[in-house]
């Protein structure tokens, strides 16, 4: 290994020795031509438009979640111009301790489930990544078919029940542990890794496990980060399996509790339903749930992006 990993900031720029501050662009590599003003402006405009198209509706959601029923009723629904801010919707969600307990459950299910899914998927993807290996096409077809043929609700329920998984957390993990799509994407990246590198490792006596662990995995950090995220998001936002397989309310994960809290606001009179006479609006609760759903994304996003740095995966390959 003669070359080191390439980092833009390590390029020699004599008149600016300090690291660029965050608002400054890092220096471009010497070989890169100066960007044209029009190009920069065009890029900036496109990106700003995309971001604005998202932030404006997000603004409506956030403002509505912070509005009282009076404000919402005056606006006839979603609020665009805030009139006083109240946190009662969030208080309603966080009071009662259900959300805390459900958050812990969801975090644990997500962590355990994602770890399990990733292990199974990475192993499977690697096991299928060698062209010409025995039976890999048959296995691929077997997996692929499940993407298009689905089982009905009743057979699946009866299976989970027969396995004794109802009212256990395994029911939230095992039936949805394998995503064939994710395995295919992983495999797609694995097959792109230099075969020469793998072959030379094999000549050095490395077995498949070691090759996977020491060569393939480090070279696939970006896609592994992506698939981890896909699985984590899947576990985090799943709710239907819980509503089907769990009877014990105390076991419910966060999404189900959130859905229940929204329903509680929606339901009008009849059947002993509570009527909220105060300042709390069901719509605000609904929007607050949405905002809270975005929080983990905002928190986790940097961790995933870390793995997307340009060219970060190539250093090890060169010799």
């Amino acid at each position: 290994m003669t070359s080191v990993m390439w980092e833009p900031r390590q390029a020699p720029v004599p008149d600016q020795p300090k690291e660029p501050r965050w608002w400054q662009a890092p220096p471009r590599p010497t070989w890169e031509e100066k960007p044209s003003q029009a190009g920069l402006a065009g890029k900036g405009l496109a990106l700003s438009l995309a971001v604005l198209a998202i932030l404006f509706p997000l603004w409506i959601v956030v403002v509505t979640s912070l509005s009282s029923r009076k404000t919402i009723d005056e606006a006839g629904g979603l609020v665009m111009v805030p009139k006083g801010i109240t946190f009662i919707a969030y208080q309603e969600l966080l009071s009662g301790g259900q959300v805390t307990r459900a958050t812990v459950i969801s975090v644990l299910v997500t962590l355990v489930g994602t770890a399990f899914s990733m292990t199974v998927s990475v192993l499977c993807a690697y096991g299928l990544s060698r062209t010409g290996s025995l039976g890999h096409r048959w296995i691929l077809m077997t997996l692929l078919a499940t993407m298009f043929f689905s089982a009905g609700l009743i057979p699946t329920y009866l299976l989970v029940q027969t396995l004794g998984l109802t009212d256990t957390y395994l029911a939230l993990i095992l039936p949805s542990a394998v995503s064939v799509f994710n395995i295919l994407v992983l495999r797609g990246f694995f097959t792109g890794i230099s075969q020469e590198l793998i072959d030379s490792a094999r000549i050095d006596g490395a077995g498949d496990i070691r090759i996977l662990w020491q060569i393939v995995m480090p070279l696939s950090r970006a896609v592994i980060a992506v698939i981890t995220l896909f699985y984590a998001v899947g576990y985090w936002s799943a709710w239907f399996n819980a509503s089907l397989y769990l009877n014990d309310q105390d076991m419910m994960p966060l999404q189900n509790v959130m859905i229940q809290l929204v329903q509680k606001q929606e339901a009008p009179v009849g059947l002993g339903q509570a009527i909220k006479t105060g300042q709390l609006s069901g719509l605000a609760v609904q929007m607050a749930v949405m905002v809270m759903a975005l929080l983990p994304v905002a928190v986790l996003s940097p961790f995933v992006q870390k793995h997307f740095k340009k060219g970060m995966l190539t250093g090890a390959v060169k010799g």
Binding site: E74, G77, I154, L271
Partner: protein, 562 residues
Amino acid sequence: MTPNSATSGPSRRSFLASTAVAAAAVAGGVPLLSACGGSDSGSREGTTSDKDAKKILPAYVASDVVTPDIPSKNGSAVGFTSKLDLAGLKTSVPKKLGKGGEVTIMSPFWGSPPKGDNPYYRAMNDLIGVDVRWQNQDGNTYDQKLGAVLASSDVPDVVVVPGWNMGGKIPSAIISKFADLGPYLSGDKVKEYPNLAAIPTGAWQRSIFGGALRGVPMPASYVPNIVPCYRQDIFEEEGYEVPESADEFLALCKDITNAKAKRWACGDMKWTAFNSFGVLSGGEKPLGWNVVDGKLIYRIETEEFLEALEWTRKLFAAGVVHPDFELGKSQATDPAPKFAAGEFLIWNNDISTWYGQTASQATQNPDFKIWGMDIFGHDGGAPTLWATNPANIFAFVSKKASESVVRDALAVANVVAAPYGTKEYMLTNYGVEGTHYTVKDGVPIKNDKGNNEVINAYVMITSPAATIAHPDFPAVAKGQVEWQQRMGASTKKSAFWGMQITEPARFTNLSNDLEQLEDDVVRGRKKVSDVQQFVSEWKSKGGDKLRDWYQKILDENGSAAN
């Protein structure tokens, strides 16, 4: 709380869904000849003849524990308008009927269920003498859970099934998985459970599935439940008169609408149009049939049906309907804030909207006043209304349950069916005084704990005969009951009213697309002639055979029409 509102489901979404599902709903019943056997192997189509039904129906013994302020008339609910007097509460269940056993109950739940061990459940279980274990399930996905649970061999002791979840093969499941309660309730046996004996016979008749009394019904008023509610405060302010004919209504709507100022007259008035033009009920398929000039006809074959659609189309075409309602029944936006904002002034919805909107706006919008307008006859005369079913939510007991479990389940129902003004009613509907609610100036007010714990669950099992009581807004309760009584005077029963009828499977999809076609017509995407086309196809594809099938039931069973 208005138990009668239960007919149309408790949440906005399921309320809307209920009409769609109800339109496709089929209910249980074995054919007449094998009714006595009531065996599982037999066909499950048809209904149970009057004569057979009489043998298994519970006796009716009116409750005299409490006298309502407004007695029932013309099929209305009973009304209570006086202040609540805690000291004067009566007792309708003098001794515990429960034997202390454990009963698991699965029931739909809208909202977040409380912990299994909470003061409300404990107090109820103490009063009943039964250890009820609740399996509260998400009400919006209940149909799927229900379908799966009933297909397993592990059915809870008691299962609550609302009518709108009775689609497809569920009636078949009801017949094969649930116990015959006849041995415990038929005839005078019901007198052991006095509050159940006070449930009107019509509601019990609806509980006959497959020739046996299988359900405990939640009784409801049969007066149509869709009320055209309007913003009385704005009407008074602007000097609008409540319209008394279809033409007046349209003229008023044009007067009200000013799109530039973000004001429209009404929501989708299709249901009111059906009532106003005297179209046979579309709530459940058997109700849509009636004898006209000696011949059975279905609602969609009538002139009134087309007229009602044409009139609703006029409203949409005139631009007086709030644009959000063009989204159709799966609308993504809640009309309530728009109604509160005055974006539209007339909203036809379940009668519970009347009280619900009053209560929720009271504290922060004191000017807001919602009232129900009488359904106008389209020509300005009295309307012809068609009765809805007198029960639409049922509690069933598993076939595998032992006798003592059945008795315990009935003990639960007997407490829940206690009439307004009793200790049992207050506990069931408001919880424990001091813990869940306090009484101020004769008005019980639930606190947060009450709002979190005293919802759904027990009240899903059954209820007393249709009751309207709003101690906080007695004027609304009075208005609702009187509305029901006035409308009830114009309400007629169609040929198959109150019967639990299962159409043969081959007919169930016949009018599947009809509701959508109606919505397409009123929104101008299809023409009335398309409906006529649909009707003629409906006839040839099986509608005429279905008519013969119903005719046979009519011949053997007699008509319920009055």
